[in-house]
Each structure stands twice: as C-alpha cells, then as structure tokens.
Symmetry: C2
Subunit: 201 residues, 2 copies
C-alpha cells in the first residue's frame, strides 16, 4: 500500500523496444504494480553474446544515451537443450528467418523437447543506478504450432508449470502467470518500488 | 614488382581472430602478396547486425584499442536463399549449435539450394586510415556433408565456379581460388600494397 501511494508522484519509466507485443506485455504486468511505462521506439545495436543478460545490459547502456531516463530494455531467448541452447540469444533473428517451423524441423524425431525461455530486464537510471533482473520459464517444445496469441516462439512452447497448452494458447493474463518475461519484470518491479523509485523521485 | 621490393621494410599486420583455420587461410593468401601477418588471439564482442560488413567494422574498431596496429578482422557468413539468409551473420553460433547437419535438415526436400558465402575484411591503421573489403562466393548447398578440409560450413558448400566439389573437398590452394575470404583478402591486399602500406611505413 505504501508503495502504491507514492505512485501519484512517480514519473514514467521508458521502455526501449521496437516490439509492440513486448511493450503490451510489459505494460500489462507493470501496471499491476502501479508502474507506468512509455515505449521508446528505438533499435539498439545488439551484441552477439551467449547470454541474454549481456545483450540486455549492453543495449540499455546504449539506449540510455538518448536521454530518456530512467529506461529499461528487455531481451529474451529460447534455449533448447537438444540443440545446445540454439536459438538462444539469437532467437529473434532465427524467428525472422527459419521461424517456428524451422525449429520444429530441427527437432523432428527428437524425444528430448526440454527448453527454457530466458528474459533479462536491464534498467538504467544513472551510471550509479543500474541493475539487471533475470527470469526463466522451463518448458517443452510442442510437436506442432498451437495457438494464436503472443508472439515469437510462443506457439511451440509449453511451460512445465502449465496445463499442456502453449503460451500462444493462453490469454495474456495466463501467460503472465508463467512467463520468463513476467518473472523478470516482477523482480524488477519489486526492487523498483522498494529501492529504485525512492531514489528517483 | 615495385610492391614486392617495399616488403623488406614492411612491418607485420595483426590479424585479430581466435580461429586458427581462418588465420592459416589468411596467412596463405596474403603471403602470396608478400604481406606478413601475426595472429592476435582476441575475442571481440560481435554485434548482432544483418551484414558481415557491420560486424567486422565494429569488431576492428574494438580490436584496435588493444594497440596492436595496423590490425584487421575478418567476419564471414553463409546466406541461404531458401532460409531468408539464415544463418547469415550468425553462422559461427549456428555452426556451434545445430551444425551442418541442422542446416541440411532445414533444407530437406528443398530444391532451391542457392546460397552465398560473404566475407568482410575490416582494416584499421588509425582513425584516419580504416577500410572494409567484401568478398563473395556463390554456390549451392550439397545434399550431404562431403570432405574434411577447411572448417565451418565448408563440407556443405559447393561453389558455382567449381567442379561440384565442396570447399571441404578442396586443397587450401583450390579453395583460395574460389572462396569469399580469398576474394575479400585479395581486394584488401591490392589496396594495401598500392595505398595502405606507403602510409604506414
């Protein structure tokens, strides 16, 4: 309650992304914490790193230079065990090229469907106040694409804690209860309301 | 001949790469121009860009900061038409994860096997003297892996100008006559001997 009361005075946080779906999800999750975000449509240069944490941290440093502060970026990847972590931090490129069908093809006949969605939220208020939050969702790759909600690899990912449906078969509310992105954003929101916001008001 | 005579006085050029095979190829090609290279085993942070030119240019700027000058880097990618350019600038990551077999699997039953290897050599002597050279090799993806020479996707790439063998079925000398890397390095060597070396001696 104490946190909520502060929010009237709280300024917006900028979210640097060109992905409208991502922005919608983040807005939906953070609004439950009373945190208001404003999307900044900026394409940062992503680095080729093996972790989404490194990609997000490098991207937010770059995004911070535009002067919209405080700001955060979110980077996510799907890590498939049987494919040595592919497509990992390159998930959006892989989605744009070979797509979900390509990934299903690579797994044809493969019994080990275990995979993990990872998300990193990198936040930057000043050079003294920056932080990265990570979230995961363990699941299995389905045999077929199912569902039309969400985006990216959602139609082929069934979270272990779910009921067998893919992310794309869930409402945004249901996905928010299970997703890597929600996991990371909730950690961020908890921290922001406790420690971050006070330093920024 | 004029160029060759200068070479006694010429200092070495540094080649920033952790890939020994790449270094061997570059050394082999450039030695024919009398250019001597010294490998610097450095892992630069690659950016996620859609072109190998951008990746190489960003990498050499970073590598130049170590102080070994003049220096160059080389970045290459295999762009497959039927896969919208995949794996493109992410070829080494894709090779390390799904490998040549993964790529062949994605192309099973696909008649359009057209693809292109692209290479970019980015050279840096000073902030006033930097340049990027690009080379290509058009070819087709074979139905199976063939050959044991070379590295990366060489066992599945048959250059159009060749005799049907893959890069991995050729000697280094034969590959140098047809490869994207040799194409870029030769353009670099021509320029370096004409204009670059004079400014650096």
């Amino acid at each position: 309650m104490g946190y909520k009361r502060k929010l009237g005075a709280q300024k917006t946080i900028f979210f640097a992304t060109s992905n409208l779906n991502k922005s919608k999800e983040a807005s939906d999750i953070l609004s439950k914490y009373g945190i208001k975000i404003t999307r900044v449509n900026v394409k940062t240069t992503e680095i080729q790193a093996d972790s989404v944490e490194d990609v997000a941290t490098a991207a937010v440093t770059q995004a911070s230079k535009m002067g919209f502060l405080p700001i955060f970026v979110e980077d996510a990847g799907l890590f498939i065990n049987a494919l040595k972590g592919f497509p990992g931090p390159f998930s959006s490129y892989v989605y744009r090229t070979i797509g979900t069908r390509g990934v299903l093809r690579l797994l044809e006949g493969e019994k080990n469907r275990l995979s993990e969605f990872r998300s990193s939220v990198a936040f930057y208020a000043s050079s003294d106040l920056k932080k990265c939050f990570s979230g995961t969702s363990v699941g299995k790759i389905s045999e077929k694409e199912r569902g039309t909600h969400g985006f990216g690899f959602d139609p082929i990912f069934k979270p272990i804690k779910g009921d067998g449906r893919t992310f794309a078969e869930m409402t945004m509310e249901e996905k928010d209860g299970l997703s890597h992105r929600a996991d990371a954003l909730k950690k961020f929101a908890d921290w922001y309301l406790k420690f971050g916001a006070e330093n920024m008001l």
